[in-house]
Symmetry: C2
Subunit: 217 residues, 2 copies
């Protein structure tokens, strides 16, 4: 196989992936205010800040006290990961997962359109109703506030209970409220949120990537 020839290097930049990660995480730990986090939470927050490119995210990140342990225990035991967006699934680094865990997104299930119509809700919320291995699963919601509200309503009605909920939908309508509802949940769910409008698929997958393995890089 003939490889293309490398063009002359015009710019001075680091080309070692591990070195880039190490420097980046060092800069984040030096700059971000991470004091209120326990160390296992800090590694999750660092990776989320890395995905956001914004140390100011630290102030909005919040964990229930048992979140890290609950998510790690579930993942090690082989729990599936449910996501509300294919982007999150694409962003999860499979080789970091401890038990070759299934990463599932039901948004393209043919039943979604029918459920959305019957329930008068969004496709994202309807997709949550099809999470048939939800009991003990790890959930990562990074797109739709309606999906997070729907999940809470399923649990409230006595439905299956996930082991951990990464609830960080992004946006202007319903997003802050949905995350506050998760953080205030009276159902005993373990949670991780980014309060306010910020959030998104990149942050959700980075949280899963951090929880999947204790080693930072």
């Amino acid at each position: 196989m003939t490889l293309p020839a490398r063009p002359p290097q015009l710019y001075d930049y680091d080309t070692d992936g591990t070195s880039i990660y190490r420097k980046s995480f060092g800069m984040i730990r030096a700059e971000a205010d991470l004091d209120r986090f326990a160390e296992p939470e800090r590694t999750v927050a660092v990776r989320m800040i890395h995905a956001a490119g914004d140390t100011g995210l630290a102030e909005a990140i919040a964990f229930s006290p048992g979140l890290v342990e609950a998510a790690r225990t579930a993942l090690r035991a082989g729990a599936p990961i449910y996501t509300d967006a294919t982007m999150i699934a694409a962003g999860i680094t499979r080789r970091r997962l401890p038990a070759d865990n299934d990463v599932l997104c039901t948004l393209r299930d043919p039943r979604v359109a029918q459920v959305a119509l019957a329930w008068a809700t969004t496709r994202s919320a309807a997709a949550v109703s099809l999470w048939d291995r939800l009991e003990g699963a790890v959930v990562a919601i990074g797109n739709a506030p309606t999906a997070l509200f729907q999940l809470l309503e399923i649990v409230a009605a006595g439905g299956p209970r996930p082991a951990a909920v990464i609830g960080i939908p992004v946006g202007f309508v319903g997003s802050p409220e949905s995350k506050q509802a998760l953080a205030d949940n009276p159902f005993g769910l373990e949670w991780l949120v980014v309060h306010g409008r910020r959030g998104g698929s990149a942050l959700a997958s980075s949280a899963i990537n951090a929880l999947a393995r204790e080693q930072e890089i």
Copy 2:
């Protein structure tokens, strides 16, 4: 087919996707400082701010004067879209694309590891060397600064020239510099950047989704 029963609605939230989009975009236009953008640029900036959940992003977004027109013309003519991350490809809404455009990511090409070794660079940068339909293409880089630097070096060496470059890698090492290099490029490339550390796959795919169709929703 039996549909699941809807659990009781506990929370008060909007469940109409189009209404949520419309309200969100209205809030962004009311709050964000978009005055320095031409109207076609404004619709792109609004969608990027929506993906970030942060009206403060507006100040960091910058366009070359011909970017929107160049990207739209290329997409209508059927240009492929190259991305540096599978997350971006997953985030591009295919039904918005005007010519069923190919969305291509070469990161998992089996030649990537060899090129990365031979060129002593990252896999993301090596993957750019395999963009064999780059001439006239639309590029969306949302992850790796090294990929953006590599692209500029390919063009500088007289290689193929993309029609438009969405250059918004996220991060702490090389990211601000790579975007400044794109904005300063002396090669006549049309560009869109988010200056500073912010960026990422969600912003890159939202920019493509906005450029793909003039209608905002």
